[in-house]
Amino acid sequence: MGDYVDSDDDYDYQDSDEGCDDEDDAVEGIEDDTEIVARGPSFKVITKESILAAQREVMHKVMDLLWLNAHHARTLLIHHRWDVDKVTELLVENGKEKLCAEAGVPTGNHNNDIPNLPSSVGCEICFDDVSVSDATKMECGHIFCNDCWTSHFIVKINEGKSRSIRCMDPNCNSVCDDAKIKALVGARDPYLAQKFDRFLQESYIEDNSRVKWCPSVPHCGNAISVDDVKLCEVECACGLQFCFTCLSEAHSPCSCLMWELWTKKCQDESETVNWMTVHTKPCPKCHKLVEKNGGCNLVCCLCGQAFCWLCGGATGRDHDWTTIFGHSCGEYKEEFEQKSQRAKIDLHRYMHYHNRYQAHLDSFKLESKLKESIQDKISKLEERDSISKDFSWIVNGLHSLSKFRRILSLTYPFAYYMFGGEIFKAEMTSDEKKMKRELFEDQQQQFEGNVERLSLLLEENFDDYDGERIKDLRARIIAVFKSTENLCRNLYDCIENDLLGSQQGTVHKISPFSIPDIQRIGLKEPLQQWHS
């Protein structure tokens, strides 16, 4: 349990009966046709309410491991970016004392109350004598007046150093007790004390390489924690699927770099600019862009100026097919034609991939609207037969369709960069490239065909069907789902092994193929009904 997250069910540390469903399945020994194969790395959604609990869980591990109090455990964890494994490793390597000293956890045994001190203390900061009740001794043993401590804390909090405020003694590395900080600052500025508390809490997310805020806008308030910081895609409870590495929307099988380039390219006017240079030229007189309209190289602007299409120079109007009288520009001709030819090819290539990418994106949007109409059909059926049946197979089928559809759309920008442009230029000979491209396109087309079949099945008007036909539809959906999934996996195999596997370095690592929750909540239950 815990290796996937149900998007409707927030991760919650208080919930102690997690895992029961799983056991039930196991106990009943359900026959399971859809094999559950290796998924992507596991992750959890941490809601605003559970941040504290999540943080406490990690702290408890360290408290138990090292016999530390909560404040010391937190200091140690902040120092090591909440990496318990690292703390454990360093404990074995260096021992507790060194581990604590380096992180600023006071190790000495200094009693907190000050019974055997004189009634007044000379503060070494303000040089005043203050009564013991107006001074505070930190765990490291250093004592200063409350006023000075408070000022010091306020300066540090405002400097953004709430998470490791050190003692004022210049030779003391120890981090001050957060409870004392809160109490002293709170007496002067309650609002800042609250902020301090929040900063400390957020450290668990912001200083933690295994946890990141969900990048949703407006922010849903959740964070995602992964077990392994390996490249992966995660899904927040708010529905946003994103890449844990670059925090943009899920983009596998494109690598983070490809996706960055692609989104830039799509936004960029550069393609349009490219088109303009191919198809228009500025008039040498009024500088408006003029489109070439005829076959010959003389173009005329609306302002009346005639000019040469090849070099853009102003000319007279007398011309024939090959020359404009009194004008010669032969020397530029070749270069210009080469350039415009190249731009044309680049543009066409981009358009080819972008059109397909866009088409699947459009289908994706349309299909996400199917959810409602499917729900309507279910209600109708239930009304007709006056019994409620389990239709999760079709709802989940739709869910998987949207995942397949997204992957499919992303295979186009992937191919755009894989088989053209600069990124892999040096890595393949053109023969190699051609062969690999054909292999890839073959897989892509098969996958594409199945995605369309799945889409058609999910659009069927099953609200008129009788029991037999519904059973039949379910069987067909399950069959197509399985073959689509296999094809998708094959495509990923091809990408990971045949295409990217031979590349050097890690720049083009992609998130592995995973359909997180669909296999178990999706097609498992209907299958048991199907067999029963």
Binding site: E124, I125, C126, F127, D128, F144, D147, C148, S151, H152, I154, V155, N158, M168, D169, P170, R188, D189, L192
Partner: protein
């Protein structure tokens, strides 16, 4: 706000042991927020014999209005050399100092005197890996002899108001018949030492 009571006490303390430390701090005007510190160049360094003046500005208060009391000493004093000095961690242009205790390693328990002592220690022990002045640092690492010469020359020129001024030395040597450009470069490579420069000029 600056804790002026503390600054007063610091000034008293400092003037008490001026004999032993050689370190002086005095207010520039009637405000205690702007002061001048004076440190002797450490013995056995190219700064030996020089007296270096440092402009000190005490931070008045934080960026936020509720930080009423939180200027100096909760934030570090700003220090800058007023005397020109050739050193990898001090800007030869502005006199800005690159020293951790004047930045994030500041502690309110440090004082102006301890800070000036640290600046003095920096003069004895440059850290060219964390330079303020890249040109000086390069020279320090690649051509230590030239670095020492230049540093000594700058000390002679800028940190010893009582000694013979450079211009006077230059005109003296020019009067002896050496070209001015050569005189200046030789004088600089001799660390401002007039006699050494003359020797070099004669032999070269």
């Amino acid at each position: 706000m600056i804790d002026f009571a503390r600054v007063q006490k610091e000034l008293q303390e400092c003037s008490r042991d001026i004999e032993s430390s050689g370190i002086k701090v005095s207010p520039k005007s009637d405000s205690l927020a702007r002061l001048t510190g004076t440190i002797p160049g450490p013995i056995g360094t190219p700064y030996e014999g020089g007296t270096f003046q440092i402009d000190i500005t005490l931070p008045v208060m934080g960026k936020f209005e509720w930080e009423l009391k939180d200027g100096y000493p909760f934030e570090p004093p700003k220090m800058q050399f007023a005397t020109k000095v050739w050193h990898p961690n001090i800007s030869s242009q502005s006199g800005a100092i690159c020293l951790d205790i004047l930045k994030d390693q500041w502690s309110p328990a440090l004082t102006l005197k301890t800070a000036l002592l640290s600046v003095q220690a920096l003069l004895s022990a440059p850290e060219p890996d964390d330079p303020q002045d890249a040109v000086v640092a390069q020279q320090y690492l690649r051509d230590y002899q030239t670095f020492v010469g230049t540093a000594r020359y700058w000390t002679e020129t800028f940190a010893k108001p009582s000694s013979l001024g450079v211009e006077e030395k230059v005109s003296k040597l020019v009067e002896m018949g050496f070209p001015e450009v050569l005189v200046r470069s030789t004088l600089e490579s001799a660390g401002g030492d007039e006699n050494l420069a003359l020797e070099k000029l004669c032999s070269g």
